[in-house]
Symmetry: C2
Subunit: 349 residues, 2 copies
């Protein structure tokens, strides 16, 4: 059980604090305090009530130590993926206090010639969350023989809520009495689950092998694995990771995640997205090369819509696709889990 | 201009000497000699006439030195991707003779604590062909703005001849008076072209970025780039690399490569291949997210078929797909190039 000191300095409410927000919202660990000078003296609940959690917001790592943290989280995406220079003194303070440092950035703490010996001296663990484990094998097809049901969230684009959908469905399945397990494939998911592989950091020949390894090494007691998807088949920068994950995990049920109103991907080359029924066909047809995996439901992220608009949008998606739809951010996970569970029952039967 | 001493000891005629065979057949460098104890005293032409090239076959690196090589090629895929222990003495002899060592294996010579200082002392270059360059960027979409025509070979499976098709089409295009350039994306192609990136060795977040970099850094004088494809959308172990390359290079014309008679992929999970027209649809539909890229023709590898069977197979493929088909191993590259060139003319018009 960790106790997190979450460093977001200057970014607590920003979109690039996605990792911090995800961990705060979903970790089963304790949140000791938030370090953010812009909001110091306030509380997490006052600044971001939507995260559903409270903790003091403090101005420095030193000040945060009074809340008995075990770990410092570097939870903000930074330009170039490196630790900002002005955070460095704080990281050093945390190491000197014996805290574990959890780093979700591309740049690794364990490559830092100053921090590594300091951490050794203070017995502080440097956890580079994206660093893949050694010895990832090539894809073998063994995932097909695993006697567990495998569900994968897939998306129309990046940042539409694939991780959140997987976490919410896993929780809804557990609430419904199934032995579900969330399988993390990206840095935020790994911080939440405490394990996983950042598949986008693996050598590309081993994407599917890494995905398969995650499935094969799931907990012995899990019956249903809910795997966090990555990227989108329509996002050229990440489509390779998306397809490698789709094939490597060998899912039997897919959950399509979409941002309401998004007609094109949000980054260059801003490719136009096909209609939802076509996206469903493409994911199903690409999955089928390994085994059939019907899309069971559509998760619609209705961020920014009022309740009436959200309801109408979800109804439209249901009409367009003929599938149950809902927004996991608005409490629809139990309904969506039922759709997943019906598909799973069809496979078992 | 290199002069190759090709080390295939015990594998000269084996399928895992694919890299050696490719380099011998297509390099514009000189082949000094082959080191292979099983065939020593014979000639390359006598042992493998199909490679269309001659050189003495010798029993040792020492013996090969009399033919004035500049470079030793480790041209055989080995178990685990590491240099077999009994080759090590030969590599050391070659380094001591000042030869460049070209290594297409997964294991890198530049990670070897014994070979690196030895090579430094003898001013011998250790060329790890699969080692990606530093600083590969994320995909940006700039490949879409490049004023060059881009052709990509894609395949139904691995080892069906995508590299050979690209090399033969590039040569046929050049023979037809176009300024073509072969773009290498795998170790054998890189050894032949003298440059390129092994896209399967890149961190998976950067597959498309690496592919785009290759296209953007092509020679200024080239009008048409013929890019070597990798893997297959139906091979789960490599499909991520295939799609990343398809999106990252942003081709305008595709060439589908297929092995005659192959109905399923040759490795686990032995997925069934769809009919050729469906494969064409899937590649075209996946490419279209970046830009339209019709399949212009089908390259049919008729290995093992007699001339009559090959002719009938190719005619059947033409009937099934409505596209020109042919075998580049049997002299059909000029015909196939014409099909590519017609598509290119349609784009230009």
């Amino acid at each position: 059980m960790r106790s997190w000191l979450v460093l977001t300095d200057g970014f607590l409410t920003a979109r690039n604090a996605k990792t911090a927000h995800g961990v705060i919202r979903y970790t089963s660990d304790r949140i000791a305090a938030i370090v953010d000078r812009d909001h110091a003296g306030s509380s997490l609940h006052a600044v971001m009530p939507e995260l559903g959690r409270d903790a003091p917001v403090v101005a420095s790592v030193q000040e945060g130590l009074q809340y008995a943290p075990t770990s410092l989280l570097l939870g903000v995406a930074t330009p170039g993926g490196w630790i900002p220079e002005h955070w460095r003194a704080w990281v050093i303070e945390a190491i000197e206090a014996g805290l574990e440092i959890a780093n979700g950035l591309h740049g690794f703490l364990n490559d830092d010639p100053e921090l590594v010996p300091l951490a050794t001296r203070h017995q502080a663990r440097l956890w580079d969350v994206r660093e893949p484990p050694a010895g990832i094998p090539l894809f073998s097809g063994k995932s097909l023989e695993l006697d567990k049901r495998i569900v994968l969230t897939v998306g129309s684009d990046c940042a539409v809520g694939k991780m959140t959908a997987a976490l919410e469905l896993e929780a809804a399945g557990r609430a419904a009495g199934r032995s579900t397990e969330f399988i993390a494939t990206g840095q935020t998911g790994i911080l939440i689950a405490g394990r996983g592989i950042a598949v986008d950091r693996v050598i590309s020949d081993f994407i599917a092998g890494a995905a398969e390894k995650l499935v094969l090494e799931s907990s012995a007691e899990s019956e249903v694995l809910v795997v966090e998807g990555q990227g989108s088949l329509w996002h050229p920068a990440y489509s390779g990771v998306t397809l490698g994950l789709l094939h490597g995990t060998a899912p039997e049920v897919l959950v399509l995640c979409h941002q309401a109103g998004r007609a094109a991907i949000e980054e260059p080359p801003y490719s136009t997205l096909p209609p939802l029924p076509e996206m469903i066909d493409v994911y199903q047809s690409m999955a089928a090369t390994v085994r059939p995996a019907p899309v069971a439901c559509v998760v619609v992220n209705c961020r920014g819509l009022d309740p009436g608009q959200a309801r109408r949008t979800i109804e439209e998606v249901e009409d367009d696709t003929g599938l149950p739809a809902g927004d996991v951010f608005r409490g629809d996970a139990p309904k969506l889990w039922q759709a997943v569970d019906r598909r799973l029952a069809e496979i078992a039967g």
